[in-house]
C-alpha cells in the first residue's frame, strides 16, 4: 500500500493547516462580498478567487512549480507584473481613458478637497513609524489611506515588497467597504444644516480645455513630484487618448481589453500572494488596523477642510462639506456615497457631480503623495 500513502502525501489533505483553512474562508468572504453584496465585484471576485488559488495546500517539496512563490510556476510569472509594479500604470492608463476630468475643471476650487484627504496618508505614515515599522514600510502602509489600489501596489512594490500582499488586500478591501466606513464619519463631522447645502450648477467645459488638461496637468504635477511619473504619465496619457478625439480606437482598447486583462491578472495574483504562511502575521494585522484608521482620517480630513474653506466663502457659494469625503478617491464609490448621504437629508440635492471633482482630484493627490514618498524614502 506504499503507493496509496504516496498519493495521499501529494494530495491537499496531507498538507492542509489551519492557516490554509482560515485563508480559504477569507477568500470565500471576499467572493461573497463581491457577488452577494456587490461591493466592487470587479476587484473582490478576482482577489477572492486568487486567495483560494494561493491557499490550496500542496507538498511544496514535490517541485511541481504550482505555488505563486515557486520559481517557474505560471502564477509566479504573472505575479511578476505586480512585484515589479508594471500592472498599476497600465491600469492607470485604462482609468485615464475612461475618466472625464470635466467635473474637476468645471469647479476647480474643489480639487483642494482631494488634496486635503491625503492627510490620511501622511498621518498613517507617522503612526506606522511609531508602531515600529521602518520608514520605508511606513510609507507603503500610509498609502493605503490614498484609497487607490494601483497606487498602493505601485508604491509598496518599490518600498516594501514583503508587505505588498497585506497592503494591497487592505487597500482594496477598504475601497470596497467605502459605503460602510464613510457614512458614519460624514454624519459625525457635519451638522444637518451643512448636509443640506445646495451648490451652484457647474459650468460647461470646452473641448480645448479637456485636451490641454492632460498635457499641462501632467507636466505641472510631475515637475512637482517626479516620483509619480509612472502613474500620472499613464493616467494623463490615457486621458489624452480619450479627449483628443482622433485616437478613439486606442482609448477604447485601453479602457476595455487592456484594463480588463490587467485587472484579471492583477486581482488573481494579488489574491494568490496571500499564502497563509507569509500572510497570517502580526504585521498584517497592524496593517489592516492602520489601513482602517487611515481611511477614517482621510475622510475626516476632506470634510474638515471643506468646513475650513467655507469660513472664507460667501453664503451663496459655500461647499457642502459632505463633498470632502469624496476626496479620498475610491472612484466613483465615495462620490456615490456623498450623493446618497446628501439625498437622505434633501432628496432634491444632487451632489454627485460636485463630488466627482474632489474624487478624481483624490486620484491625482494620492499619486503625487506616492511620488513624494518614493523620492524621499527610497
Amino acid at each position: 500500500m506504499d503507493i496509496v500513502i504516496e498519493f495521499l502525501k501529494y494530495s491537499g489533505f496531507a498538507s492542509v493547516t489551519w492557516g490554509h483553512i482560515i485563508m480559504l474562508i477569507a477568500g470565500g468572504i471576499c467572493i461573497y462580498l463581491g457577488i452577494g453584496k456587490k461591493y466592487e465585484p470587479l476587484l473582490l471576485v478576482p482577489i477572492g478567487f486568487g486567495m483560494l488559488i494561493g491557499n490550496i495546500p500542496f507538498l511544496e517539496s514535490a517541485g511541481m512549480q504550482i505555488g505563486i512563490y515557486e520559481d517557474g510556476s505560471v502564477m509566479n510569472y504573472l505575479y511578476y507584473g505586480v512585484l515589479k509594479g508594471i500592472y498599476p500604470p497600465l491600469i492607470f492608463l485604462g482609468i485615464g481613458a475612461m475618466t472625464d476630468f470635466s467635473a474637476l475643471l468645471s469647479n476647480p476650487k474643489l480639487v483642494l478637497l482631494g488634496a486635503a484627504a491625503q492627510i490620511g496618508i501622511f498621518l498613517t505614515f507617522i503612526g506606522a513609524n511609531a508602531l515600529g515599522f521602518t520608514s520605508l514600510e511606513s510609507g507603503a502602509i500610509g498609502i493605503i489611506g490614498g484609497a487607490d489600489g494601483p497606487t498602493a501596489i505601485f508604491l509598496s512594490s518599490k518600498l516594501a515588497p514583503h508587505l505588498m500582499g497585506a497592503i494591497a488586500i487592505a487597500a482594496y478591501s477598504y475601497m470596497a467597504l467605502v459605503p460602510v466606513i464613510q457614512p458614519p464619519i460624514m454624519k459625525l463631522f457635519t451638522t444637518e444644516k451643512e448636509r443640506k447645502i445646495k451648490m451652484k450648477p457647474v459650468r460647461q467645459v470646452k473641448k480645448t480645455e479637456k485636451v490641454l488638461f492632460p498635457i499641462l496637468g501632467f507636466i505641472l504635477t510631475v515637475f512637482i513630484s517626479p516620483g509619480a511619473l509612472p502613474l500620472l504619465g499613464m493616467l494623463f496619457f490615457g486621458n489624452l487618448l480619450k479627449e483628443s478625439g482622433v485616437t478613439e480606437r486606442l482609448a477604447k482598447t485601453a479602457r476595455n481589453s487592456l484594463i480588463d486583462i490587467v485587472t484579471i491578472l492583477l486581482g488573481v495574483t494579488v489574491g494568490a500572494s496571500t499564502q497563509a504562511t507569509t500572510f497570517l502575521t502580526k504585521e498584517s494585522l497592524f496593517i489592516f488596523v492602520l489601513g482602517a484608521i487611515s481611511f477614517m482620517i482621510a475622510t475626516s480630513g476632506g470634510i474638515l477642510f471643506a468646513k475650513f474653506m467655507n469660513l472664507f466663502l460667501k453664503e451663496d457659494n459655500k461647499i457642502n462639506p459632505l463633498c470632502g469625503a469624496a476626496g479620498v478617491s475610491a472612484v466613483p464609490d465615495s462620490a456615490r456615497v456623498v450623493q446618497h448621504v446628501g439625498a437622505q437629508y434633501d432628496r432634491t440635492n444632487y451632489l454627485l457631480m460636485h463630488a466627482m471633482g474632489p474624487n478624481v482630484a483624490g486620484v491625482i493627490g494620492s499619486a503625487v503623495s506616492a511620488g513624494i514618498l518614493l523620492a524621499v524614502l527610497k
Binding site: Q118, G217, I224, S225, F312, V368, I372
Partner: protein, 139 residues
Amino acid sequence: MYKTLLKYISTVLFFVSFGLAQENGENRIYLISLFGILIVMLSLVGIYFFMRFIAWMIKYSKYKRLKQIKEKKNKLRIIELKNNRPDIETVLAISSAIHMELKYKMEEEKAILTINKLIRPYSPWSSKILSMRRVPDRR
C-alpha cells in the same frame, strides 16, 4: 463677525502647527509628512490656477478673434449683437434642453443594452465555445 475671528484663529493654528513641526527638526518623519501634504496641496492648487488661466486664455483668444472678424465687416452689427445677446435664463433653458435630450439618448442606449442582454441566451447550444471549434462540413 465671529466668522472672521474663526478664520483668523484657524489660519494662526495652521502656522503654529507648522512651526512646531519645524522645531522638532530632528524628526524627519514629521517634516516629510507636513511638507508632503503641502506639496500635494501645491500641485493641485497649481492645477487649479493653470486651468483657470487656460480657460481664460481660450475665452480671451476667442473673443479677440470674434472681435477682429466683426470689426472688419460691420460695426453696426456688433452693437446690435450686443443688445441682442441672450440673457442667462435663455442660456440655461437651452442647456437644460440639451441635457434632457442627452438623458433621453442615454435611456435609449440602456434600452438597447437590455435588449442585448435578453437576446444573449446562455445555454450550451448557443455558448460561444460551439462557434470556436467546428464540425467539418462533409458530415
